[in-house]
């Protein structure tokens, strides 16, 4: 950890939630700043330029989505949004509008910290690692080689492209639309069945048990996330 603590701005109107987030984040070595409304949050971002933002989508003064859009007009600071169960369209809209990840309330502290670590990795990656490994999987991003328990796994070009996208964003959610656009191009960004079929094939090659995947996890109604922390 660097000398200066990474600063996290929490924008949430619920005082109890802010308090708990402060405990959790401070214990994990973050510098915590708080804002109790959307407008106050926007001002705080402009003044302090935090390293990461935790933003509640349900703010009383300004919809979280609007806060996010205004932020994205001038900054790429990673934003983790907090939402509630059953508002999947809202989450997808926020992710498509530039949010980097989401958490559904109620969430656990460990989950929150894992998400933030994944976001931090994104900003810190000045020089992307050549080799990423998690569990029994090892991916050599330069030589385009995937190994499972030491044995090479044969992936087709597009399977590799899909896997690489998830690996480089590991720990973070990627929406269906995002993945489809990246791998198949904008013309096919609504053709979810492409994604499903390729994900099925990928799981059969990567996972120990493709029927209950450990790494390539689905987020219902939102997208996929590659689980597995590591270097």
């Amino acid at each position: 950890m660097s000398a200066a603590k990474p600063e996290v701005l929490v924008i949430d109107d619920e005082i109890q939630l802010r308090r708990l987030l402060r405990f959790t984040l401070a214990d994990a070595g973050y510098e915590v700043r708080e804002a109790d409304s959307g407008h106050a949050g926007l001002v705080a971002v402009a003044h302090h330029q935090p390293e990461m933002i935790v933003l509640d989508l349900g703010l009383p003064d300004l919809p979280g989505l609007d806060v996010l859009r205004r932020l994205r007009e001038w900054t790429t600071i990673p934003v983790l949004i907090l939402s509630v169960f059953g508002r999947e369209e809202g989450k997808v809209a926020a992710l498509d509008a530039g949010a980097d990840d989401y958490l559904t309330k109620p969430f656990g502290g460990a989950e929150l910290l894992a998400r933030l670590r994944a976001l931090q990795r994104r900003t810190k990656q000045v020089e992307p690692a050549n080799i990423v490994s998690f569990g029994s999987i090892e991916v050599d991003l330069v030589r385009r080689i995937v190994k499972k328990a030491g044995h090479p796994v044969k992936l087709t070009a597009r399977e590799y492209a899909l896997f690489r996208l998830l690996v480089t964003h590991r720990g973070r959610v990627l929406t269906h639309r995002h993945i489809l656009r990246e791998i198949w191009g904008p013309a096919l960004e609504t053709q979810t069945h492409y994604l499903r079929v390729f994900m099925m094939r990928l799981r059969q090659k990567i996972e120990d048990d493709a029927d209950s995947p450990k790494y390539l996890q689905t987020e219902s109604g939102i997208g996929y996330r590659l689980m597995g922390e590591g270097s």
């Binding site: 169960f85 979810t192 995947p213």
Partner: protein, 479 residues
């Protein structure tokens, strides 16, 4: 006249001609009404006397015999004519009464076979049309107290007809054609009155060629109107009963909901409170287990809120499934992940064919449905017993399915009819639950064009099958 000319030409004896005249009068009485019969009797008596009774071409009659003969002829002709026409008249009214009875019988029979007000009214209007060769329409007094045309009539009601109907309703007497009120109107309007209250107005448009209606037709029309009024009153009472019953039912449901919601919430809340107090107490010896208890309690509360929200959305009719291609394995693993520790200690078996087709479904709704079913399986089967999911598709029924199976005691037969209704709960060893799980499952599945059903199977346990229409997507290229 024929007899006169014939008699004149044939020169029969005047006696024979008298009988012929009599016969003619009786035959005539069979065809015409009372007054023409009487006149024909008189004319024939005079004609017979004048033309045939000697001296011919003269009324002068000195002979007493002959005078007696002529006058008795007159009386006989008169009486015979009147009797005959009387019988005929009776026959005719008999026939009319019968027609009327048949028409009313047909109407009541048609009405008895109907189940709703709309059906009854349609049947009544059709009978009216048939019997009177008319076109008809009905206006009903609505709950707001205004008169509104009921659909399904064969007569188009224009603004004039509607204002006439209002007039008829106010006056509580027939109006329009054939009456004193607006006789120029095209149709006859009859009020439908029950116990001094106008329930509606029946408009009947008789064919143009009918220039007047007699009292029998009028009576029959009014009898029809009375029958329709009776029908409306009956249906109104029935629907009022139904409403009262529904109100009582929803009241009961609300009480049940409140009772069980407060019970279901208090348990995890009590756990949270107790755990917090224990954590505060530094001397407590079992602090290590508390975090898990707290997490379990919040999960329970969270699921409760999700189900209450789901039920509310279903009842408000705001569930709009966002159908997309889903992998059944994804749905199942997401549901298992969201259940977390609730499934621990349960061997899980997934039986899914390698070429299982994608489902056209809303992933979020499906996740909640599968979560509810898995949780039910946990609650209604012994600890440690396995839970399995079988997936597949049925070509013949064009369905894809997921069957969630446990090895518990199964679903008691007496519970089956109301299994998918809200607040239906089985007996289970652990807690009570809200009884919303299966009701939400059915609601969500139906919203996606599928359904849920109990599957009969050999062996123990409950098998619940979710099915969705089989949908085919375009072939995905290999690269």
């Amino acid at each position: 006249m024929a007899v006169t000319i014939g008699g004149w030409l044939a020169r029969f004896h005047y006696d024979v001609l008298g009988h012929l005249y009599l016969l003619t009068v009786i035959v005539l009485s069979l065809r015409v009404s009372r007054w023409p019969a009487l006149i024909s009797a008189l004319v024939s008596a005079l004609a017979w006397n004048y033309f045939f009774v000697p001296p011919r071409m003269s009324f002068v009659k000195p002979d007493l015999d002959e005078a007696l003969l002529v006058s008795s002829y007159f009386v006989v002709a008169l009486v015979a004519g009147q009797l005959t026409s009387h019988i005929r008249e009776q026959q005719r009214s008999e026939r009319q009464r019968e027609q009327r009875a048949t028409a009313l019988f047909n109407l009541t029979r048609a009405l008895a076979g109907t189940h709703t007000l709309a059906e009854g009214i349609t049947a009544a209007l059709r009978q009216t049309d048939m019997l009177f060769e008319a076109r008809s329409a009905l206006m009903l007094v609505t709950e707001e107290g205004c008169l509104a045309p009921h659909h399904g009539g064969s007569l188009e009601l224009d603004a004039a007809a509607l204002s006439l109907a209002d007039e008829v309703r106010r006056e509580q007497c027939a109006g329009g054609r054939f009456t004193e009120i607006f006789p120029d109107a095209v149709s006859l309007h009859l009020p439908l009155v029950r116990e001094g209250q106008v329930l509606g107005v029946l408009a009947v448009c008789l064919p143009q060629r009918v220039i007047r209606i007699n009292s029998q037709q009028r009576d029959l029309l009014e009898a029809f109107a009375a029958q329709v009024a009776l029908l409306i009153e009956r249906e109104r009472l029935r629907s009022a009963d139904e409403r009262a019953r529904l109100l009582a039912e929803s009241d009961r449901l609300h009480r049940t909901l409140l009772d069980s919601v407060s019970h279901e919430m208090r348990t995890p809340l009590a756990v949270l409170r107790a755990a917090a107090d224990n954590l505060k107490n530094d001397g407590a010896r079992h602090r290590a287990g508390l975090p898990a208890e707290i997490v379990e309690a919040t999960n329970r509360l969270n699921r409760l809120v999700a189900n209450l929200l789901g039920q509310t959305r279903l009842e408000a009719g705001v569930v709009r499934p966002n159908l997309d291609w889903c992998d059944a394995r994804d749905l199942i693993s997401a549901a298992r992940r969201s259940l977390g520790d609730a499934l621990s200690g349960r061997p899980f078996k997934l039986d899914i064919p390698a070429d299982m087709p994608l489902l056209r479904a809303d992933a979020v709704l499906m996740e909640q449905v599968i979560t509810n079913l898995l949780l039910n399986a946990v609650h209604y089967s012994p600890a440690g017993s396995p839970i399995s999911i079988l997936a597949g598709w049925n070509e013949a029924k064009a369905q894809v399915y997921l069957t969630i199976a446990d090895e518990g005691r199964g679903i008691p037969a007496e519970l089956r009819p109301q299994l998918f209704q809200k607040f239906c709960r089985g007996h289970r060893p652990t807690g009570n639950g809200l009884g919303l799980g299966l009701s939400i499952a059915r609601g969500f599945m139906q919203a996606q064009g599928g359904d849920i059903a109990v599957t009969d199977h050999p062996g123990p346990g409950a098998w619940l099958t979710l099915h969705l229409p089989f949908a085919k997507h375009a072939v995905v290229p290999h690269e």
